[in-house]
Amino acid sequence: MTATQERPAAEIGRDRRRKEDQRLITGRTRWTDNLTLPGMLHLAMVRSPFAHATITSIDTSAAEQAPNVVAVVTGQGIADEQGVVINAWPITPDQKAPTHTPVAVDRVSFAGEIVAVVVARSAAEARDAAELVDVEYDELPAALDLKEAAEADADNGGAIAHPDLGTNKSALWVFDSSEAGTGGNVEEAIEKARSDGILIEREYRQQRLIPAFMEPRSVVVDPTGEQITMWSATQVPHIVRFALAATTGVSESKIRVIAPDVGGGFGGKLQTTPEEWVAFALARRLGKPVKYTETRSESLVAAHHGRDQWQRLTLAAEKDGTVTGFKVDLLADLGSHVAIVGGGVPVLGAFMFNAIYKFPSYRFSCQTVLTNKTWTDAYRGAGRPEATYAIERIMDELAVEVGVDPLEIREKNWIKHEEFPFTTVCGLEYDSGNYEAATARAKEMFGYDELRAEQKKRREQGDKVQLGIGISTFTEMCGLAPSRVLGSLDYGAGGWEHASVRMLATGKVEVVTGASAHGQGHETAFSQIVADRLGVAFEDIEVLHGDTQIAHKGLDTYGSRSLVVGGEALVRAADKVIEKAKPIAAHLLEASADDIEFSHGRFGVRGTDQGMAIGEIATAVFAAHNMPDGVEPSLDSEATYDPVNFSFPHGTHLCAMEVDTETGALKMRKYVACDDIGNIINPLIVAGQVHGGLVQGIAQALWEEAVYDDSGTLVSGSFVDYLLPTAADTISFDIDHTTSASTTNTLGTKGVGEAGTIASTPAVVNAVVDAVRHLGVNDVQMPCTPERVWKAINSGGAGGATEGAAMPHFEAGGEAGNQEQPGTASTEGVGE
């Protein structure tokens, strides 16, 4: 970008070690659970063991008699003061959403819902007493299976998650390119493909996942003093503050929310939680500081889950593989309540099923469904991993049908680099990208041709270990988000970010950002940006965040927004400092303002060697002895930036998997990621984001799933059962970058926080399927456990998919209209 070219970057692009690390590697951390306040009381939650039940009675007398118990509170007892947990994104005007009280009042709607709260002088005593609370329930039929829940109504007697709503269907959200005027009619494309082209119909499962941040959620509320202060392990202190004020009647100015050190989030701490609301209410009632820290078991059952969709996909193409239309029908499981983003998560994916491709027609519909399971919401990628999985899996199926390499079919359909900016069939304008370059680099790093040759050889030899190559050429929309777009989608807030720059008397700089880091390294990256912008030393900059009293405005951290939105706000605030300093510099240097040039932290007089450092001016402004007339003695500046567009990072990921065809065992041999995230501020931090993102996406492909039994109990309710990958399960990655600078922000940056997760899941599953496709397999349901892979190989027949996986025929009479199952015709009988 011109701006950075004029001012050569010293800090931007450097692999600075992180400012954050000193305290983190020495244990001098401030996690919420570390806080202890005088007289602080501790909360323990009594949670429902039933997925759906009426509360018939709660006997708290034994608990109240337990040692050092201060109070035992039920939903009835707190009904008037607990507020409600909000949904900020009603995706349709007629969306059905049950009222979400922090503590259930008369009915529970998922196993893990809070029914009573014990307050005691120690956490151990609170937990002991919680065991003594005697709750009687009348069990109700529970809506558990997503598809059954979607069909349930009064006539068929299916279980209704919230009986007073009369249905489990919450909202139906539809986008149709022909109605929006952004593309053609997908039904016409499908009809044409059915008679004279290629039609591929697939159904994919996005299993339910658990964000599983390492720091369990914790909240401390101190009601003493003029303000009520809440410390919370949250990604969104500003949103929590707003929602507390909006739902409890306490003035926003009387609430201070602090997110101290926060141990990961991945969307899982983008929430306003029942536990926060309960702690707030009880601190106010008791007039004492209270603390609640969840156990891991509570976290897994009560913090929101992610994904959980069925995706029905219809891809229409010409016989040569040119895609003519894509139709997507989703069922999305909301769980028990419509969470803060809720149905907005699949809607965020709606614009990404067309991905990097030039599709002439597109239709998306999503039916959100309430069930009696843990509520779902954002998890790293939020809607976009699901979309990317669907399109990148089905593009492989198209390649098989046409009989070409899957990279070839992608190239045939993708947007060429000279076609940017490109308006997609969803109406989004992709500002920049170069899919050819990223793919070429990835292929080179991967040794694509050599691995294809090895694959061919192993197939010919009938090796028991087969090699599969998986591809994901992804893009995503991030940098949430232009406020106008959010408004048009009925989201309840904007997408701007705020920053301010304070020039201290000593020449040091304080930077305040409304973004709220929880492991990303903002303190380091933002220091690098300001160091270059103002020409001050990296070490002289302090980045402050995560406290609504310090960062009074902000919309926090999620959706890969901190750099592309928050960073741009910071650039603009810094530029205002320079503009404010110019007339003062001119005055002090006895020159005309027109002759003042700013470069590398110094205001100079053009054509002379006279000048002053910005720090010297800051000191002079502090003294204010010699200011120009009518100029305020302050350089401090702020900016609120509303993005003009989303950010569209992209990349090509390639995965090589070895599959033991006798046991179904999988071994990842190589993983290459070449991401184009525009200009990079700190390559070290970027690499960390990519690595971590990759493993979360790989984990969805291979290991993780939240599993419920048929009574609605979360079976994967501990780290024994919910399989987070370990160091021993994973490999080292080969990553690199190509660069097409974004044209929508000054620094030319794009988001990176979610990219690895969005890209990697389909790359891995495509590799698994590719390894055994010649054995009649065209799908393996996630997570691709050895058992599922083995079953897919050995089930024979059409596709050999695992139970509940691909079901290719949707239309009545589809037998005549649908294509043969890819992979079957040429390998008939192989898998039997």
Binding site: I25, D261, G264, H518
Partner: protein, 156 residues
């Protein structure tokens, strides 16, 4: 209540504790050693790893009374005279941490791993850290950090 006396990060301490109190609770609640954290309740995550008499233990899996008479080192006692331990330095150098919550346990386990095997292969490092979960880094840079600390493959 049971009286225990032990050494923690070089300081002698003595307290009455409930027999059921876990070592990690003792460290955090009685001593204010909040550098050591609790990440799970099934001894899977390893965030609470400390050294007891020179060997790494998950302090959620040890009763405080079992540490009676012992010597405990936590992440807060690892740096000596203001000098970071080589493994701490390596984690920073290699960006082996993001949110930092698993880091105390990860570093303490890595120190123990290198004590037993000063020149581990990548596979030995990965197996040696199997009991410690990290959700941020994908382990890539943690492995590099241990290699770096071991004086191997310090390429950046």
């Amino acid at each position: 209540m049971t009286r225990i006396s032990l050494t923690v990060d070089g300081a002698k301490v003595s307290d009455d504790v409930e027999p059921r109190m876990l070592l990690v609770q003792y460290l955090r609640e009685k001593l204010g050693k909040t550098g050591t954290v609790i990440g799970c309740d099934t001894s899977n995550c390893g965030a609470c790893t400390v050294h007891l008499d020179g060997t790494s233990v998950k302090s959620c899996n040890v009763l405080a009374v079992q540490a009676d008479g012992g010597e405990v080192t936590t992440i807060e006692g690892l740096a000596q005279d203001g000098q970071l331990h080589a493994v701490q330095e390596a984690f920073r150098e290699c960006h082996g941490l993001q949110c930092g919550f698993c880091t105390p346990g990860m570093i303490m386990q890595s120190v123990d791993l290198l004590k037993e095997n000063p020149n581990p292969t990548e596979e030995e490092i990965r197996l040696g850290l199997e009991g410690n979960l990290c959700r941020c880094t994908g382990y890539h840079n943690i492995v590099k950090a241990v290699q770096y600390a071991a004086g191997q493959g310090a390429e950046s």
